[in-house]
């Protein structure tokens, strides 16, 4: 009774005051507050930033600020960031980051500015921070600090050729075992195509392999130790590498998204397990528009646990103008801009944008886009952002996962040897955490 009274008489008025003051702050919000300043944005030159920067002039007009873009390919961007941050330089105000990969590491190094208060207090009326994917916000929160705002939602999905499946008398696969059976059948039914392709390049493997491991029911760490040698871990290693070795293209150990998209788009692969972001590339030229089906990766013993990640925008902890930098982050992750990006094929990290009539109209124009959105809906609701080991040295952990898979693809080790060697190296990494 006392508790209820306390809630009624104290907590509710406090919440009401807080809500009113937040509304008041939103009403006072002035996009021109930092007019004349220059914000430097370190960008990964990928489709997400390319779509965003189409509207660079809109940001400059809205805020009166100048946006200086420092764009590189992904790895070169990280290289530049490491140099800048190790020098405690304020050259970069905002940078793109993958929380699933480097989040723990950058947070522990203190490279992220804390966005928690700004995302609550310094927001325009229509920003709606609660409308962003809560899973992605959670994945970007380290030690209670919000470190980046999501720009998109993505994950590996399963592309398959409906015409080849029909010709070979196959149904859309529901389980991993169905994928293996389909690959086996396609190998004899249509020898002109590669039955299955996914990532085989060492550092890129963890992105797709994690989905398979989780679907099978495996985990990377159990009781503080690496568990690739658990029964589920070994099953995942064996299945993933066998699919690529027996049904993948020659040279698959050098395959990442570029090669996979080129192979599938060229009509030379029947099934491809690749990023949802690649839809636009795969559909270029229109050859695959009418004969492609899309699904989240088929279920294993643990059902479907898709990998769901997203690029985020972070403010550098060394920035001398974090408030102005936040204005850029806020604009870039606002519903209005994310809707514009969505119409360019960048999956929005906001359910409200995904339901927007204009976006729905774009989706409804092609059946393959509907399937793409349906797969992304599953990713958004069931997804796990664990790509590689959830430790500070996550990028290094991906090397050892990739090494184990490559050793099996190239038949250089048995499953027991490959997982044991990987576990040994990974336990050493976990111990450093």
């Amino acid at each position: 009774m006392k508790a209820r009274m306390l809630a009624t008489r104290v907590a509710l008025p406090v919440l009401a005051i807080a809500a009113v003051s937040a509304q008041a702050r939103a009403a006072e919000f002035d996009w021109m507050k930092f007019k004349g300043k220059t914000v430097t944005f370190l960008a990964n030159n990928n489709p997400v930033s390319q779509a965003l920067l189409t509207y660079k002039a809109d940001f400059e007009k809205l805020t009166g600020m100048t946006l200086k873009v420092d764009g590189y390919q992904e790895q070169q961007m990280r290289q530049r960031l490491v140099t800048v941050m190790n020098a405690n330089s304020d050259e970069v105000d905002v940078f793109m980051t993958l929380p699933s990969r480097e989040g723990e590491q950058f947070a522990a190094a203190g490279w992220y500015g804390d966005l928690t208060a700004m995302a609550k207090n310094e927001v325009a009326k229509d920003y709606d921070p609660a409308g962003l994917s809560q899973a992605l916000l959670k994945a970007a929160t380290f030690g209670g600090k919000l470190t980046s705002m999501p720009m998109n939602i993505e994950g590996p999905i399963f592309y398959y050729r409906t015409d080849i499946f029909k010709k070979c008398g196959l149904e859309a696969p529901k389980t991993i075992k169905d994928v293996e059976a389909a690959a086996e059948k396609i190998k004899t039914c249509d020898s002109t195509v590669t039955p299955f392709v996914s990532r085989g390049l060492k550092p890129a493997i963890a992105y797709t392999f994690s989905n398979m491991l989780h679907n099978i029911g495996g985990t990377y760490i159990a009781s503080g130790k690496s568990s690739l040698c658990s029964a589920k871990g070994k099953e995942a290693l064996d299945t993933y590498s066998r699919l690529l070795r027996d049904f993948g293209p020659p040279g698959v150990v050098n395959y990442s998204f570029q090669q996979i998209s080129a192979l599938y788009r060229g009509g030379r692969a029947a099934m491809a397990f690749e990023s949802s972001n690649e839809l636009r590339t795969v559909m270029e030229g229109g050859a695959r528009l009418k004969d492609t089906g899309l699904l989240p990766f088929p279920a294993g013993e643990a059902g479907q646990v898709p990998t769901t990640i997203g690029w985020g925008m972070a403010v550098s902890s060394h920035s001398k103008q974090p408030d102005a930098a936040w204005y850029f982050v806020q604009w870039a992750t606002s519903p209005e801009v994310q809707k514009k990006m969505a119409l360019q094929g960048i999956a929005p990290p906001r359910p409200s944008v995904a339901k927007d009539p204009e976006y729905r109209k774009w989706i409804d124009e092609e059946p393959v886009r509907k399937e793409w959105q349906a797969a992304l809906d599953v990713l958004a609701t069931k997804g796990s952002s664990e790509v590689g080991y959830p430790i500070v040295a996550n990028p290094q952990s991906r090397e050892f996962i990739g090494q184990a898979v490559q050793d099996l693809i190239l038949k250089q080790k048995t499953v027991d040897q490959a997982c044991a060697d990987a576990d040994k190296a990974l336990d050493a990494l976990i111990a450093l955490n």
Binding site: Q75, G110, P203, A262, Q396
Partner: protein
């Protein structure tokens, strides 16, 4: 003006010249020395994966001695160096001889012969990556059209080093040829005339006259290529990123990954300084060889 006064004026002029040029000299020395000194200093630090830095003395160098990846990287670096250098010197001399004797070759053809080394290595790497793709590339298509078995090229742990050496040789053999061609053009004609009078065959002339006289030029080309080959990075980074597995993980690639992907800048600095010492060692050895073959 007395002698003493003249000397004083000269000394003053020297001082003024030294003072005026000092800022430029100091700036140049600082620009060269600072990165080296800074890297040496970094080599004595350890960086945790969170970026925390501590003084470690020689720990990075001790670790290096027991690091399997370091020794593997060194072996790959040396294998690639030897294979590429031999290919480039042999074919470079051959190409230079062709260009030297084919005096009526149109300028455009000569330009085409030497054009690969003008191409940025990243572009060359991308181009060969596409050509050598076992599924989509032209290389296997040509092999199969000739009734030969296809190859995995860059995707084979066995063939990746010879393949990378071939790509690098395709690009840099013309550069070696250009240096050797310069050497050929400066050889004294009187020696050849004497050989002709003595009835020496073309092969004997090459073996006994051209090659010995060209050796200093060839060693110069070897020195220039050695520096690049021991620091081999760009083509591997574009085509294999050190794979498959670790089959093409040269010391430079390994150091880059340790520094910029795993953020262990201290250990990466130690690796790179060791590589620099190896490059210096190779250059010194070749310099001695050049001294020995000079004429």
């Amino acid at each position: 003006m007395s002698d003493t006064a003249a000397t004083l004026t000269q000394d003053r002029q020297k001082l003024e010249m030294a003072a005026l040029s000092a800022p430029a000299v100091i700036f140049t020395i600082a620009m060269i020395a600072f990165p080296v000194v800074y890297t040496i200093w970094l080599g004595f630090q350890t960086f945790s994966s969170t970026g925390k830095q501590t003084f470690a003395g020689l720990a990075n160098y001790t670790k290096l001695m027991s690091d399997v990846e370091f020794w593997h990287g060194l072996w790959i670096t040396i294998a690639l160096f030897v294979l590429s250098l031999v290919l480039q010197l042999v074919f470079g001399v051959w190409l230079a001889l062709v260009l030297f004797h084919a005096k009526r070759l149109p300028g455009i053809v000569r330009s085409l012969f030497i054009s690969p080394f003008m191409m940025p290595p990243v572009v060359a790497g991308m181009m060969w990556l596409v050509i050598l793709d076992p599924s989509l590339g032209a290389a296997n298509y040509i092999l199969q059209s000739l009734g030969l078995p296809p190859s995995d090229w860059l995707a084979s742990p066995t063939w990746v080093i010879p393949t990378v050496a071939l790509i690098d040789s395709w690009q840099w053999t013309p550069y070696v040829a250009l240096i050797v061609l310069g050497g050929l053009q400066s050889l004294p004609p009187s020696v050849y005339e004497a050989a002709q009078i003595d009835g020496a065959s073309a092969f004997k002339t090459f073996q006994r006259i051209t090659l010995p006289l060209l050796l200093p030029t060839i060693v110069t080309a070897a020195i220039l290529r050695s520096v690049d080959l021991l620091r081999f990075f760009d083509i591997i980074y574009i085509t294999t990123q050190g794979g498959p597995g670790n089959a093409s993980n040269t010391l430079n690639i390994y150091g880059f990954r340790v520094g910029f992907e795993f953020f262990n800048i201290g250990y990466a600095s130690a690796l790179m300084l060791t590589l620099t010492a190896i490059v210096f060692g190779a250059v010194l050895a070749f310099n001695r060889l050049r001294g020995a073959v000079a004429w």
